[in-house]
Symmetry: C2
DNA sequence: ATGTGTTACGAGCCACGTAACAATT
DNA sequence: AATTGTTACGTGGCTCGTAACACAT
């Protein structure tokens, strides 16, 4: 699992559509589709139902979505927390 | 930034030593050292003080460590949350 | 000289994009 | 036929490990 996979998952979950999510991520469809497949494979669970119109979240996907968002938000928070402590003071 | 980099950072922070952390991660020193350097480069901040005995966390590193641990814990939680919802029930 | 982290460099893997495919409407 | 997601396949880049390095003790 990678942060990229999580970002891909959230984008597809929100768009309900691999094509649109790919445009939003500045990526082509195949890699994005592979991200989702890899994630599902790694988790051992399908996250989306494939319809002829796009992708709809399954219950496992909805559960995972909350966690994925929290993780990505925490990453942003981590970056922000460190910016501003740039000086290499040893702080004793 | 990648989850691998975060795992590497936590290991080095806990061991205070790239060599020991590398053994713990079943990795050789150079890639691990590069993970830390890449992280510092991406964050624009030094996270460790290099001593002749090893690596000691700087204030920015200590701040980042909390976040890194939380992120990794959340990843584990996300995986556990999905395991057990394996059946593709549509749940309405 | 021993032990630390880092840089050079070559090889293998990974992930992208284009193109072709499968399937539904 | 048009629109969806997926698979094939080749190329570029990334990342590993070995070896060589720089520095301190």
């Amino acid at each position: 699992m990678s942060l990229t996979h999580l970002q891909s998952f959230v984008a597809v979950a929100e768009e309900g559509h691999v094509g649109r999510a790919a445009r939003r991520l500045h990526l082509s469809q195949p890699p994005l589709s592979r991200h989702i497949l890899a994630l599902e494979d790694e988790l051992g669970t399908r996250l989306f139902e494939r319809t002829s119109r796009g992708m709809r979240l399954l219950p496992a996907g909805e559960a995972f979505l909350c966690h994925a968002r929290r993780i990505l938000a925490e990453v942003d928070a981590a970056v922000l927390a460190v910016r501003g402590l740039g000086a290499d003071r040893t702080d004793h």
